[in-house]
């Protein structure tokens, strides 16, 4: 066996994959982000919509599982696993990495999911109730458990390094990237597929989020429903999708001549210890997550050139996150450009942090900051620069991305532009 070189302690991003409500594939996704294209429409994946209070969401429209899996698997597998395999395959191809037998032992997977295979879970439970327990699928357990995104992607690509999962609701994608960064930094892997996958748009998901009274009910105007930081925001818009990034030891990436999109330089996390669904009113956990990310990166607030906000379009999140940014950034909070790309993708829950990290990577690569679309009426409680409606040409060196989840999970990543 070949001796593994000492880890460089630095972790770079060398591959990107995306399945989103505004396009499958990084190029089409990023193109639509820059153009300010929204993906929210009347839902098609849930029957009898009129019995729900919310009828709208951001579905992935151009995805065909058979493009990524064999026919047998594509026909029956839960959508969140199919998305994860697609994202993983795209990211690996994009990285140009050659998977030798030795590297496979050092290449891990950490693709989280906030919920897991809820569609499959619902179908099988219905079968159990209507026909009986002897008629449920033998795939019920493996297609339901959230860790199967990582497990399945590892099997498809033969990646035998650390294989694990994060489940922190809407902070999942950011935690997955941050935790994978630590795994590589401490030398437990040379490379990781990291990200999040979510497919919550089904009868159970819609009913449950409707009951939680957290979603927009702007049913007659779906294109304007996701409006983070706007005064008339009235709830998040549910979305689905997957983001996967190849994270790699920097020396390894340089030695193979990889294109280096960005470097992960900071990661912070903190708990609210406050309420099961509501964020802390003063953003206590969010403040500490951002501060820890900055200190771990050895950066000052003024070094950050762009913030990709959690920005869910709920009253509480957007005002609380604004307060938290002010508490961390002081006067500079009024200068740093901030946007919520959930205005376009909807809230993809466990995938959100991964897609938003991907947005940060492309923003730094292209020197374009993405907009917050549907921003019409300023809110006195949200008085920062949210890059309203139109993308901005601006080169930045560091991006900060926030994700917060039910349960009081707060996670912040800081990425640095590639060399």
């Amino acid at each position: 066996m070949m001796a593994t070189p000492a880890p460089s302690g630095r972790v770079v991003i060398t591959g990107l994959g995306a399945v989103t409500p505004i396009g499958t594939g990084t190029e089409v996704f990023w193109g639509n982000i820059v153009a300010g294209v929204g993906g929210v429409e009347r839902l098609t994946l849930v029957p009898d919509l009129d019995s729900y209070t919310t009828h709208i969401g951001a579905e992935v429209k151009d995805f065909n599982a058979e493009d990524w899996l064999d026919k047998k698997e594509a026909r029956r597998i839960d959508r969140f696993i199919a998305f994860a395999v697609a994202g993983a395959t795209m990211a690996l191809r994009d990285s140009g990495i050659v998977l030798t037998d030795e590297l496979r032992d050092e290449f891990g997977v950490l693709i989280g999911s906030g919920i897991g295979g809820l569609t499959f879970m619902g179908e099988q439970h219905r079968k159990q109730v209507e026909v009986g327990p002897s008629k449920v699928s033998p795939f019920w357990v493996p297609y339901m458990i959230p860790d199967m995104a990582s497990g399945y992607a590892s099997i498809v690509h033969g990646l035998r390094g650390p294989n694990t999962c994060v489940v922190t609701a809407c902070a999942t994608g950011t935690n997955a990237i941050g935790d994978a960064y630590h795994i590589i930094k401490r030398g437990d892997a040379i490379a990781m597929l990291a990200g999040g996958s979510e497919a919550p748009i089904n009868e159970i998901g819609l009913a449950a989020f409707c009951a939680a009274r957290a979603m927009s009910t702007r049913n007659n105007d779906p294109h304007h429903a996701s409006r983070p930081f706007d005064k008339d925001r009235e709830g998040f818009v549910i979305g689905e999708g997957c983001g996967v990034l190849v994270l790699e030891d920097r020396d390894h990436a340089i030695a193979r001549g990889a294109k280096i999109y960005a470097e992960v330089v900071g990661y912070g996390m903190a708990g609210d210890a406050h309420h099961i669904t509501a964020p802390h009113p003063q953003g206590h956990g969010a403040i500490r997550a951002m501060k820890k990310a900055l200190s771990s990166a050895g950066l000052k607030p003024e070094d950050i050139g762009y913030i990709n906000a959690h920005g869910t379009s709920t009253q509480l999140n957007d005002s609380g996150e604004t307060s938290a940014i002010k508490a961390v950034f002081g006067e500079y909070a009024y200068k740093v450009p901030i946007s919520s790309t959930k205005s376009m993708t909807g809230h993809t829950l466990g995938a959100a942090g991964a897609l938003e990290a991907l947005v940060c990577v492309r923003a730094m690569q292209d020197g374009i900051l993405p907009p917050t679309i549907n921003y019409e009426t300023p809110d006195p409680a949200c008085d920062l620069d949210y890059i309203p409606n139109v993308a901005r040409k601006q080169q930045v060196d560091y991006c900060l991305s926030n994700s917060f989840g039910f349960g009081g999970h707060n996670a912040t990543l800081i990425l640095q532009r590639g060399e």
Binding site: D70, K71, K72, E73, R75, K135, S137, P138, F139, P142
Partner: protein, 79 residues
């Protein structure tokens, strides 16, 4: 051996295992030749139960290793 049963076994196998119809010959083993794992076999057997309206007890699943076995077993069950 009933041609009708064979045709329906073939149809179900093609759907469940995602294989080509010409691969589903009587001598073909579900696990050795048609790529089924143990979970696939459970699902395939459940699909046969639905298709033919029969019950296949777990302890008899072992008799159904090939396409031909399945046709024989089902013919016997249907009397």
């Amino acid at each position: 051996m009933s041609q009708d049963i064979l045709n329906r076994v073939k149809k179900v196998t093609v759907e469940e295992l995602g294989v080509k119809e010409e691969e589903v010959i009587e001598a073909a083993s579900f696990t050795e030749d048609l790529g089924a794992d143990s979970l696939d076999v459970v699902e395939l057997v459940m699909a046969f139960e639905d298709e033919f309206g029969i019950d296949i007890p777990d302890e008899e699943v072992g008799e159904i290793k090939t396409v031909g076995n399945a046709v024989e077993y089902i013919s016997k069950k249907l009397g």
